[in-house]
Symmetry: C2
Subunit: 462 residues, 2 copies
């Protein structure tokens, strides 16, 4: 009960209506420092212009590509301009998969060729010429698993699983439908399918296909697989509903190549009191190979850079060492994340906390926390300081793929920055994830939120 | 202290981290009914398609225009299709001001004509041909008031007051800068100015001018006045900073005409227990005469219609009478709002509560409340029911211009629906406020939030 009461009293400050009654002593140095952080980011923030440069002058940057290499040196160059104590390129071998020439797909419908919009899934093999086969539709992977082999053999499986519109959080939809893209092609191959098409994981009603990685279980033959745009999925569904047999012809040119050397890019301000304890904020520098990778995850990269810039601009001397970590290869391998955790362990770098921003550059909602409940309780106690800045939602939950491997190193406090997610999957992994979809103020509010959290952790470690 | 404790315990439920521990009995009928409302809106909502129709087939609709009249019958037609108990066209006389042909403005700079993007402010007179005069820049209305008359006389006053980037809420910026547009031209005229240009009230860095209404104090000669795009404002500022005299030539064709007959459009479901007590939700049907009036306030109109549609679809029998009220002439006169309150008083219609949506169709944040503190406390007690739906921010504050006049009728509880406001003033009163700027899910979440609040008021009046 005592705990409940303490929480209750803390939570009194959660709602603006009470803030006018907040005792003066709560508005401490911390609240003034956080206000300074927001002033600096909102008035002088560079994140948006950095993102413009990354998106328009480098563009998308899948692991192993020339543009990913450019992005590494772009990030290093920005970090070197910030007057940091260290800038590190951390070598890591990454997968190298290429889409090749644009895909082609159509249904031959009498004399008409009905085109379909699709993008090969990451790790898909090519069709080696034109693949033509009859299509069979399933609602999800479970239905596919239950089908007898003879219904699937020699066919292209179409997994037509729409996002559930009733969910409030779009990440719930993604979590629910993820298996279609990640495991569908492998399951289809196990039943003898020659190809697999997955309806895009999105609420958007347009026809941009949303790619993403897939994979095949050990011993399973990889088959050509692709994401189908929403409108194309509805079109294909209608054709199948006509009762006639439907065949698709498709050409995918994608191919895997030998691994390549790439880098995580790390910028560091050394701590004044505990330089061997680290607080890091990060996003991933690689993207899918369409659009600009603006929300996913150019936004998280520039927000992490902006955190360091802001502390330098304010002349803040952190007690712990602070890092922005731009991870390589989140999208199709997670090699950068694994390498970072491995090196941290090897070098006995104690990580106090890691914050990941990989949910887009949208207007702020809050933070998730995991892996260290003392840190979670500390976060709850900071609500009165964060809540005036549109940060209302603080829940225990997954933080992010790139900081996840740090769990193996101990009770590192992991935080996920959580902006509003309504529009995230409109653009996620699609050609529509472009710079113009990012709003400067929304991006900046995220940078400031992350910087404020780094500040609070630095000042009040649990 | 007891009150504090009760609030504290209520607020325990405000933060998701605790919801897993919420006792079962809290998840009452209300929570199930609200879930049904969200299911209906998110799965079957018509608001987005109605908005598409309004924006693309009728377009902008300033009071007194042909398109405003079309919008009245468009709304009536939708209401009649919903099987309501009553659909009312409430006559009201409205101002009729027309922009006329597009404005022209430029600075003659040596041999070069440097064009400026501007839109006449509502109520501005025309320039009656080309007005050419020297420009003088001021930072705000206060600076203008302090200038000696001889510095202003015969000149065009340029009020170059940018939004303060450091504010977290963009409505704070609007409140701070509003005086420039509303009072600047009148103050300029008092000092003998022949025209007035006001930097657009926006954070956007583009060159869309943002119009809006102005007015002149009694006895003050109206002078031509216009909003200048942000880029044009920066350009003009630079020219003035060169030290040379800067003259602007501008042509405004706008003109005021005699008042016209128009209508508020009201749809009603009669209450089963207290039919003479009303709960209303509304937005305004008129817009400025550029763009589509999509966020301002097509969104609020279709959300109010969606509230009625949803209750009909769910077969919900309200205890009180429910109305959607689409007000006419919010933008340049508020005549519809004044008429509605006047008629309500005359007809002894007791208004229990009014909810206004006039802050755009963006992702939800919460509700403001005013004019009835019992209702405010009731709202606070409903937080646990609303918070799972991205509604976190409940503060005492202004609700909206159209329901404001109801205050004169008694302690009517007034609520303002508050979506996220970061992008609102990017589009507000500008040609960029078009249908494509509205996201279906964000719009629908707003409709459902309003419907849920109407439901709670209907079930649990204070």
């Amino acid at each position: 009960m005592r705990k409940v009461l303490i929480f209750s009293i803390l939570l009194m400050f959660c709602t603006d209506v009470f803030s006018q009654n907040t005792p003066a002593h709560v508005f401490t140095k911390d609240s003034l420092e956080i206000r300074k952080i927001y002033d600096e980011v909102l008035k002088n923030g560079q994140g948006y212009e950095w993102l413009r440069d990354l998106c328009l002058n480098i563009g998308h940057r899948i692991s192993g590509s020339e543009s990913a290499e450019k992005a590494v040196f772009w990030a290093k160059n920005i970090m070197e301009g910030l007057g940091l104590d260290r800038v590190i390129l951390q070598p890591v071998m990454v997968p190298h998969w290429e889409r090749g020439a644009p895909e082609i797909a159509y249904v031959q419908w009498g004399k008409e060729k009905i085109p379909l919009e699709l993008l090969a899934l990451g790790s898909s093999p090519s069709t080696q010429g034109t693949l033509t086969a009859e299509v069979i539709e399933v609602a999800d992977v479970e239905e596919l698993k239950l089908l007898p082999r003879e219904k699937v053999e020699g066919k292209i499986v179409f997994i037509n699983m729409p996002f559930n519109k009733a969910h409030i959080h779009t990440f719930t939809c993604y979590g629910e439908n993820y298996s279609a893209r990640r495991f569908g092609p492998s399951e289809a191959s196990k039943k003898g399918a020659v190809g697999c098409l997955v309806r895009s994981l999105t609420h958007a009603g347009d026809d941009f296909p949303h790619t993403g990685n897939t994979g095949f279980d050990a011993g399973v033959t990889p088959i050509p697989c692709a994401a189908l745009g929403t409108a194309s999925s509805l079109k294909l569904h209608d054709l199948l509903n006509s009762g006639k047999k439907v065949s698709i012809s498709m050409v995918l040119h994608c191919q895997s190549y030998p691994e390549k050397l790439s880098y995580n890019v790390i910028g560091e301000i050394r701590g004044s009191e505990k330089p061997d304890e680290y607080i890091i904020a990060g996003g991933h520098l690689d993207s899918w190979d369409v659009g600009h990778g603006a929300h996913d995850d150019g936004a998280g990269c520039v927000q992490s850079l902006e955190m360091l810039r802001t502390f330098k601009a304010l002349g803040y001397k952190p007690r712990h060492s602070l890092r922005a970590v731009l991870f390589m290869n989140e999208e199709n391998g997670l090699r950068g994340a694994l390498k970072y955790a491995e090196e941290a362990k090897k070098n006995k770098e104690v990580h106090l906390a890691a914050i990941e921003s990989d949910a887009g550059g949208f207007t702020p909602r809050g933070f998730t926390f995991e892996n260290n409940m003392k840190a979670g309780r500390a976060l709850m106690s900071w609500i009165p300081l964060l809540e005036p800045y549109l940060l209302h939602r603080f829940i225990e939950g997954g933080s992010g793929a790139d900081i996840g491997p740090l769990k193996a190193n101990g009770p590192v406090a992991l935080f996920g920055y959580r902006p509003d997610d309504q529009r995230y999957f409109d653009y996620h992994h699609a050609a529509s994830d472009t710079f113009d979809k990012v709003n400067k103020r929304e991006l900046d509010l995220g940078s400031a939120a992350i910087t404020a959290l780094v500040y609070l952790i630095d000042q009040h470690p649990w």
